[in-house]
Amino acid sequence: MAVANYLYLSAILFTIGAIGVVVRRNSIVVFMCIELMLNAANLAFVTFARINGNLEGQVVAFFTMVVAACEVVVGLAIIVTIYRSRRSASVDDASLLKR
């Protein structure tokens, strides 16, 4: 089996995540799709680390995880705040920019 298969898998997961971000309206699900995209990228990093024979890809993936964790914490706090004022978790309801 070719190592490149991991990269194909990564690309497919990334695409599914991108579709989810655009199509789903529940802000939490949108968030989960973003996490999926990040994980897909991480998989690619890990695979490249293996191909290149050094650990830099893994270190970058590690940093990605940390940043993703931060992002989740803040993002979910924002979702909760919005929910508290709007009673809705749909991203379409937060469309004040239009007006």
Binding site: A18, V21, V22, V23, R25, V91, D92, K98, R99
Partner: protein
């Protein structure tokens, strides 16, 4: 050259006084007129001191100068704000401050009932300062500052009673007409700078040989245009009659004695330009000749005493301009006539003011009549001025006007004939209309139609008039005696000491002049001796009609400049509206429409923005795909 700080004080004193009077407001109401008069008198004192100091020096060292500050210093172009007092300037300084002081005194009484007397004196002082700067500036640029200053003062004073719309309009008219002349002066300065790289009188005089005659002609014509504007000469003469809207002292000081003669000063000061530019000099002659007849003809038909005098002023300045056009010998006579005219015309204007004062501000001469016995002193002084202006020997006007006629005739040939007959004709008409003024005002029946008898004016008004009429009697002889003024001005205007030829003996010319004057007086006496009606006759010749309408000068201006100007402006407005505004609005509406169309993309939904990002990523990766293929 010697310096003298007095020159600075000459200008600074009235300028500060004016500023104080304007800034102090009502607080200065009680003492403003006193201060204005004292300041004016002190400038006159300085002028006298300087005059005697100058006289005591030898001819080469008479001029003094004073640098105030460096005004412009750009590369090789340096202009100092500095003053120059020479033989020519001192004549003007004495005239301005002397007549000015007398008129200040006169105004104290004349304006005593006006609530705004303080403001009036502030403007008068501003005028004195500007006029002194005009005659003391040592370069055209300095002169220009004074030139604009007197224009401003004139505007403010003509429109002094600006609550009357007609007066405000008159002020505006004077200002606009003067603007045309001012453009001429600024163009002359620019051409001078381009030609000489210098705008000072001395610098230009020294390098006048290096300029081509075309350049000098251009400068001369532009200077003539400036002189026409300021001195109410043809074709910019129309504002002077309306300028009589100002208080009478203003008419006497600014629009008779001093400011309107600034054009004569300008041409005399620029003698080196005109002497080297024959075409410009010929134009000066033409302008002078036309205006002297033009003003005289208008003067015959005017019933408004001030407008008749204004027309006379125009005509007399025509004499002066004509004299300046006669070349080196003419300048001195122009200045001589200017000085004598300053005396007798100011005296007559103030006399007219006195009459108006006694007649409840009535200006129509047809409603006067027989005032002589009610106002004997005014009558006497006015009569002296009258004798002076028509040129009866030995009064002042005789000497100065006679000299101009003589010089004009001595030009010889067809030119001399035309100029000589024009000046003689002018003298005759002058005699006619001035006699008319005197008869209608002081002789004949009382036509004012109300019971109140006219009363003589207070002493505060009569004393200045009296002093001025002394000047109008004596000044001519004093200036003429032994060609005093001619010699005095020689270093300034007549460096070549051209010896003028004599075609006719002077005594013949004098006899001719007196003869035409007598003819003019006789006709007027015969015509107006028994004037009964207080209405102007309706059935008059077409010439009288034309003269009453100022020879259609306003109609001409309206048809030639105002209407086409207005239509040009209207069309420009349309162009501006359709083309330029259309362009701007087009850009605006295109942007607006494009924005409205693009706004749809900005629907506020986060997901649509995410979609755009996805599309962008697709485009990016497609590019990479194509590039690496």
């Amino acid at each position: 050259m010697q310096t003298s700080e007095n020159l600075l004080w000459l200008i600074a004193l009235p300028l500060f006084s004016s500023a104080i009077l304007l800034l102090a407001g009502k607080r200065a109401n009680s003492w403003g007129h006193i201060m204005g008069t004292i300041v004016s008198a002190s400038t006159f004192t300085i002028g006298i001191i300087e005059f005697f100091a100058m006289q005591s020096r030898s001819e080469e060292n008479r001029a003094v100068t004073q640098k105030i500050f460096t005004w412009i210093s750009v590369g090789s172009f340096n202009v100092d704000a500095s003053l120059l007092l020479d033989q020519l300037s001192i004549c003007f300084v004495l005239l301005i401050t002397g007549v000015g002081t007398l008129i200040h005194v006169y105004s104290i009484a004349y304006m005593s009932h006006d609530l705004d007397r303080r403001r009036f004196f502030a403007y008068l002082n501003l005028f004195i300062a500007s006029m002194l700067l005009l005659v003391l500036g040592d370069s055209y640029l300095n002169l220009y500052v004074g030139w604009e200053g007197v224009g401003l003062a004139s505007y403010l004073l003509i429109g002094f009673w600006n609550e009357k719309p007609a007066y405000a309009t008159a002020a505006k008219k004077a200002f606009v007409a003067n603007r045309v002349g001012d453009v001429g002066l600024s163009l002359a300065i620019m051409i001078s700078f381009a030609t000489f790289g210098d705008v000072s009188f001395s610098g230009m005089k020294d390098s006048v040989d290096q300029a081509s005659s075309t350049q000098l002609t251009a400068i001369g014509l532009m200077l003539l245009l400036a002189a026409c504007g300021k001195s109410a000469q043809f074709p910019l003469q129309s504002w002077l009659g309306d300028a009589m809207a100002g208080p009478t002292p203003v008419s006497a000081l600014i629009h008779a004695a001093t400011m309107v003669t600034a054009g004569v000063y300008l041409i005399t000061r620029s003698n080196f330009v005109f002497d080297a530019a024959p075409i410009a000099q010929l134009m000066v002659l033409i302008v002078g000749g036309v205006t002297l007849l033009f003003g005289a003809i208008i003067g015959m038909a005017k019933d408004d005493i001030k407008k008749a005098l204004a027309a006379s002023t125009m005509s007399q300045i025509g004499y002066m301009i004509l004299a300046t056009g006669l070349g080196p010998i003419g300048y001195a006579f122009a200045i001589m006539h200017l000085l004598t005219h300053g005396f007798f015309k100011a005296s007559m204007f103030l006399g007219a003011g006195s009459v108006m004062h006694g007649m409840k501000d009535e200006v129509n001469m047809r409603k006067y009549g027989g005032i002589g016995k009610f106002m004997p002193i005014t009558f006497l002084t006015f009569g002296l001025g009258y004798l002076a202006i028509i040129g009866v020997p030995p009064f002042a006007g005789f000497y100065s006007k006679d000299k101009i006629i003589e010089t004009a005739l001595n030009e010889g040939g067809i030119k001399g004939l035309i100029l000589g007959s024009a000046t003689l004709l002018g003298a005759m008409i002058t005699a006619f209309y001035m006699t008319r003024v005197v008869i209608l005002t002081f002789f004949g029946n009382e036509r004012w139609g109300h019971k109140d008898e006219p009363h003589e004016s207070p002493a505060l008004m009569l004393v200045p008039i009296g002093l001025l009429s002394v000047g109008s009697v004596a000044s001519g002889y004093l200036l003429y005696k032994g060609d005093w003024l001619v010699h005095w001005l020689e270093p300034v205007v007549n460096p070549l000491k051209v010896h003028h030829k004599e075609l006719l003996p002077p005594i013949v010319v004098s006899i001719m002049a007196v003869a035409v004057v007598l003819i003019g007086v006789s006709i007027a006496v015969l015509k107006y001796r028994g004037e009964q009606s207080d209405k102007a006759p309706e059935r008059v010749s077409v010439f009288t009609r034309a003269a009453r309408k100022d020879l259609f000068q306003d109609n001409f201006n309206e048809a030639t400049f105002m209407r086409p100007g207005q239509s040009v402006v209207k069309n420009l407005l349309n162009i501006d509206y359709l083309l330029i505004d259309g362009l701007v609005r087009g850009v605006g509406s295109v942007s607006l429409n494009a924005g409205n169309k693009l706004r749809v993309i900005q629907n506020g939904y986060v997901r649509s923005y995410a979609l755009l990002m996805v599309v962008g990523a697709l485009a990016l990766i497609a590019t990479i795909w194509v590039v690496t293929a």
